[in-house]
């Protein structure tokens, strides 16, 4: 139990640490890039930072949305499962670009008609849309992991007197979180790449930095190659977590 929570915390910490390292790697190597790129490295760094921050905030939001939606589908309490299902159908059945537009352009107007004057800037809109979107995918990954756990586990937990909620928290959740790691990582990598869509509402992230430099210099090859390389470094970092998790699991078994 505790070891599963520890692994999840170490995982979250490692992802943040790795992202910082990846960012530093990019920062240190940019001056060695061709002159066109090196001269505007501040633009790329700004974009890279924005991409990482967008991904990070959407990951945190998406994690909680994912668990909440998976839980709503499992408990089937007061029709929560229909609400969760509607959410999943909407987020998986419409383009992410449209979802970003809806949150950025339409949501403030809808809220205003209810008397809520909340301004949503392009940053918040992008993070919210990305977080909700990845949350829907996380929920499916998490539910798959839950369903893959042998029925006997809950049966035994219940026969030992644990309540439904205790069974979920102490028996199912830790096992599911280990199993959901790989799909979570793929979803996070997809999220990192999808964050490029935030450029459509004017967030200056990595891909917008690339296209901006292209239009400034009329040299698409170095600009876009740099953008692609930086994305590769970042997605590579996400998948570095997998071997770390393996090491942690082996360490746990090896101690005893």
């Amino acid at each position: 139990m505790r070891s599963s929570i520890n692994r999840a915390l170490v995982g979250a910490f490692a992802l943040i640490l790795f992202s910082c390292i990846a960012y530093q790697v990019v920062r240190i190597s940019l001056p060695f890039a061709p002159e066109v790129i090196a001269a505007r490295r501040d633009l790329f760094l700004m974009g890279a930072k924005a991409t990482l921050l967008l991904t990070l905030s959407a990951t945190i939001l998406g994690f909680f949305v994912g668990i909440l939606v998976a839980w709503m589908k499992e408990v089937k309490w007061l029709g929560t499962q229909y609400l969760a299902q509607a959410f999943t159908i909407f987020t998986q059945g419409t383009p992410l670009l449209v979802q970003i537009f809806i949150i950025f352009f339409a949501l403030p107007e809808v809220l205003a008609s209810f008397g809520l004057n909340i301004s949503i800037d392009e940053w918040k809109a992008a993070a919210l849309a990305l977080g909700l979107n990845v949350g829907a995918y996380h929920a499916e990954a998490f539910r798959g992991a839950l369903l893959s756990i042998d029925d006997g586990q809950s049966k035994v937990a219940r026969s030992l007197g644990l309540s439904r909620f205790q069974t979920f928290i102490f028996v199912l959740l830790p096992q599911a979180s280990d199993r959901a790691t790989l799909p979570f990582l793929s979803n996070t990598a997809a999220l990192l790449k999808d964050s490029a869509l935030a450029s459509s509402i004017g967030v200056l992230e990595l891909s917008l930095a690339g296209t901006r430099l292209t239009s400034e210099t009329f040299k698409p090859v170095p600009a876009l190659a740099t953008v692609a390389l930086i994305y590769l470094v970042f997605t590579g970092v996400i998948f570095l977590w997998r071997p770390v998790q393996k090491l942690l699991l082996e360490a746990q078994d090896g101690v005893h």
Binding site: M1, S3, S4, D150, G152, Q153, K155, V156, A157, S159, L160, G161, L162, Q166, F170, V171, P174, Q175, D178, Q252, D253, V255, H256
Partner: protein
């Protein structure tokens, strides 16, 4: 064997069928299970032994008749399933202490002392920090029994407990059952394993479905 309160499980004209108009799996079962005794429910596959066990553990409800549990609370009835189902993400020790800590609100240290005492008793003391994947089948079974014992049950139900054990282990398991009855725990064992049956020397063994009745075994 003198307990101040009367604790027993009684079946009164118990009947069960899975569908509303289907055939009865069994009907008119009358039987009394007592603490400190070993009861074996015998018969070949498909006569409803496991169904009876599920009725006893309240997993399903009877179609007819009733299961009376006199003096028994929910956690007074332990179940050791065929698959054992140790919690794979917890160490052996944590497997034992989870339910007492969360259900009985036992203090962690107290629960661990109690768990280590049981592990010692079951010859498992060296394994307390192992993960379930790293212990043998026989050990896993004793861990599952110890886990059920942590809640100080009056009865323990066993579903085909010897299915995956070799003959030597079956003997050890039969000894364990007898030890449990000496602790004044009632054991109800569902089995069709002839080796176990001969080990616990139950004479009235019958394969016939009509005679499918829980037989009272040997007292402690």
């Amino acid at each position: 064997m003198e307990s101040t309160k009367t604790v027993y499980i009684e079946l009164r004209s118990l009947g069960f069928r899975y569908s509303k108009h289907g055939k009865f799996l069994f009907r008119g079962l009358n039987c009394k299970f007592q603490k400190g005794f070993l009861h074996a429910i015998l018969g070949p596959s498909g006569v409803g032994k496991t169904t009876l066990l599920r009725l006893l553990s309240d997993e399903i409800l009877p179609t007819e008749g009733e299961v009376i549990k006199e003096g028994l609370g929910r956690q007074n009835l332990g179940v050791v399933y065929q698959g054992l189902h140790l919690f794979p993400h917890l160490t052996v020790l944590e497997n034992l202490t989870l339910a007492p800590r969360k259900v009985l609100r036992m203090h962690k240290n107290h629960a661990e002392v109690e768990a280590l005492r049981l592990l010692q008793q079951f010859d498992l003391h060296g394994l307390s920090h192992r993960m379930p994947a790293k212990i043998s089948g026989g050990q896993a079974q004793r861990v599952a029994i110890a886990r059920a014992l942590m809640l100080q049950p009056e009865f323990i139900l066993f579903d085909e407990p010897t299915a995956s054990l070799d003959t030597d282990r079956v003997k050890v398991f039969a000894d364990t059952l007898l030890d449990l009855t000496k602790l004044d725990v009632g054991c109800i064992v569902v089995t069709h394993d002839q080796r176990l049956v001969s080990q616990i020397e139950i004479k009235n063994y019958s394969k016939a479905v009509e005679n499918f009745l829980p037989h009272t075994g040997i007292p402690a």
